[in-house]
Symmetry: C2
Subunit: 210 residues, 2 copies
């Protein structure tokens, strides 16, 4: 965007706000579209219509279909990570690790996970999408891991702790997949209870509990 003088800045703020709001509407519409119609049914035009934005404006924000949908999945993933951190502002004491595990598992349900899954599976067969989604997933995955370690109060310098947390997130993803077709809630809760117990043994005391 280049340098903006102080005088310009004051005038531009409302325009930037509008632009940001348009971008956000597009991103939210893109995730909903991907979740409902899959990759094959998701184009920039369909999303622009859904968001009530002109095709030109949509293409100004997102020149390609890949740009739009990877940005959308990343945006919603960040929103959800933020919401998760806000749920446990002080991290977890060992006592509420079960609640943290349940909240982590919930990250892999709903429209975001469905949208991400569509993008992921499409990327496995489309060269153009593959590199983008691989990079996106690595980034989102690292962030999920960071949040999990933080909220669980996991000390990764202890042997096995890092892998225990990774396995937990893999399980959460697998549970999300199971939830895709059927309401798997009651089974999911029982598995979460048990794995939270196993994890608790593996992690030991939270570091700040002395």
């Amino acid at each position: 965007m280049g340098g903006v003088s102080t005088a310009d800045r004051a005038e531009r703020v409302p325009k930037q706000d509008r632009s940001r709001a348009t971008r956000q509407r597009l991103l939210e519409a893109a995730v909903a579209c991907l979740a409902e119609h899959g990759w094959a049914g998701s184009t920039v035009l369909v999303v622009a219509e859904r968001a009530g934005v002109s095709r030109g404006a949509a293409q100004h924000h997102f020149p390609t279909r890949e740009d739009l949908f990877t940005a959308a999945v990343e945006y919603v993933a960040e929103e959800r990570s933020g919401a998760l951190r806000a749920l446990f502002p002080d991290g977890a004491a060992a006592g509420d690790r079960r609640a943290v595990v349940a909240a982590l598992v919930d990250l892999y349900t709903g429209p975001l996970f469905r949208a991400a899954l569509h993008l992921w599976v499409a990327a496995s067969n489309e060269e153009q999408l593959r590199a983008r989604v691989t990079e996106l997933e690595a980034r989102v995955g690292r962030e999920s891991h960071r949040i999990a370690v933080e909220l669980l109060g996991a000390d990764e310098s202890r042997p096995g702790v890092r892998e225990s947390v990774q396995g937990l997130l893999d399980m959460a993803r697998g549970l999300g997949l199971a939830t895709l077709l059927t309401d798997d809630g009651p089974r999911r809760r029982r598995v979460v209870d048990q794995w939270a117990r196993l994890l608790d043994d593996a992690l030991g005391q939270a570091p700040d509990e002395g």
Copy 2:
């Protein structure tokens, strides 16, 4: 096919063999096609061509696209379950549980898992496919659980054991998803090592120690 007399039967066997071989070629081609091109690119005609079978013959065996692809995923899942049982003909002693866990995790990699995932994700947005795939996944899931319990020597009358095994299979599915875009082998092995250890503790635990 109705009743077949003894005299007829002798003559028909080779024809039945040919028919079975054709069916099998179609099923294998269908899984490969689904894995490579996804649901959108997978039709009965494409599979018939790949299998070197006429369209009419393919439609004789599988009247609809849904019939062909659900049968294909089920067929290959059964093949792989059989192969897994054959690897551990006597089930697992506690000592080789890690090998069993690794083999279970491997079920959720490669072309079968990729094909199943495409079918699964497509089913989440297509009513016609959804009921079929939900039913198929329930059946395949129960069978995987049965094999896991058997090979791990897990006593499901002990509290938590059933859920531990379920969580393991969910984790295996999540690990398979991670492997879809990148070769996740080294990380996967470390996670498997650690969770095999945690699971071993969980399965060996006496009920009154819980």
